[in-house]
């Protein structure tokens, strides 16, 4: 809701005001009629594509600032696409777990499709493309491609093979989101990959009181990314939604901007303590 421009849907056009100079910290599409801010991943590629820059200090600085302050708190509380996946998972039916090894794939997506390909895979004129947005991003298809295609006949005529590919990716992500918890966030999202690198050092920290924790596993059952918070409270995979905190029967999970001391600094301890 922090990035909601309802008027855009009513007037059938995207927002073009000054707020678009600033990024919204969650994954979104700046071509969504309902977006007030820009997408950091799209903006990073857009600047890198310009021959004058090749690298965006503005967006890198923004992501660094958000990351070191909050870590993946954005994924758990702000990201609209994460929220959509949470809703889809509520649809009853067969559920599957994602193996941890797939979590590393999002770093491949980040390095390859966001950083390397837009700069180095260029045409004869030296022009690249925002390959993550173009080939993968299901948020762009859902939030911009489909609504704009529906309401704008001129754009609808231009939708071809690439659009079909993007719809196929979106359908796959939707199906996987019904079957498993937040598959896009865990396996694909390059923005989550960036923020995840800061979870251990960010000002905002998670903590488990090892004196109170009984390792009952209720936290893991309620975690949208199947993470055992008592094993590694500030793991790269934790999206800091606070689900574990509210569900813990012993109130052993804490989070905030304070420094945790004595038995509440289990980051290293918990890894060593064979829980």
């Amino acid at each position: 809701m922090g990035n909601a421009y309802i008027k855009g849907f009513i007037e059938n056009r995207i927002y073009t005001g000054k707020l678009k100079k600033i990024c919204f910290p969650g994954l979104n599409c700046y071509s969504c009629p309902g977006a007030l801010g820009s997408c950091p991943i799209g903006s990073f590629q857009a600047v890198a594509l310009d021959i004058r820059y090749k690298f965006s200090f503005y967006i890198a600085g923004f992501l660094l600032l958000i990351g070191v302050t909050l870590g993946r708190l954005i994924c758990g509380w702000v990201c609209p696409f994460g929220f959509i996946q949470d809703l889809l998972y509520k649809i009853p039916g067969i559920k599957i777990k994602i193996h941890k090894v797939f979590n590393y794939f999002k770093y491949v997506v980040l390095i390859l499709f966001v950083i390397i390909l837009p700069v180095f895979l260029v045409d004869e004129f030296g022009t690249g493309a925002p390959y993550f947005c173009k080939l993968i991003c299901p948020a762009g298809t859902l939030e911009a491609g489909l609504p704009l295609g529906l309401i704008n006949p001129d754009l609808r005529e231009g939708l071809g093979l690439l659009f079909k590919w993007k719809v196929a990716v979106l359908v796959l992500v939707i199906v996987l989101s019904i079957l498993s918890k937040r598959p896009f966030c865990r396996v694909i999202c390059p923005l989550g990959a960036i923020y995840s690198l800061f979870n251990r050092i960010s000002f905002y920290q998670m903590s488990v009181d090892i004196g109170k924790c009984t390792k009952c596993g209720i936290c893991t059952q309620n975690c949208p990314v199947d993470h055992a918070v008592y094993e590694k409270p500030n793991s790269k995979e934790c999206i800091r939604c606070g689900g574990c905190k509210s569900k813990c029967p012993n109130k052993a999970v804490e989070s905030g901007f304070k420094s945790y001391k004595t038995n509440k600094i289990p980051e290293k301890k918990a890894e060593d303590t064979n829980f």
Partner: protein
């Protein structure tokens, strides 16, 4: 140590943002964000 790392990263992020603004990257973001991104919607 951790506090020092955080302060260093915050300082670096501010320097990066300032450098980006100074180089005119904000305008580039604005131009891209205020036009319909054809790649994003599956045309480009």
């Amino acid at each position: 140590m951790l506090k020092g790392t955080r302060v260093f990263l915050v300082a670096m992020s501010i320097i990066f943002i300032a450098l980006g603004i100074f180089q005119g990257e904000v305008q580039q973001v604005f131009v891209k964000a205020t036009l319909v991104c054809l790649e994003c919607i599956g045309i480009g």
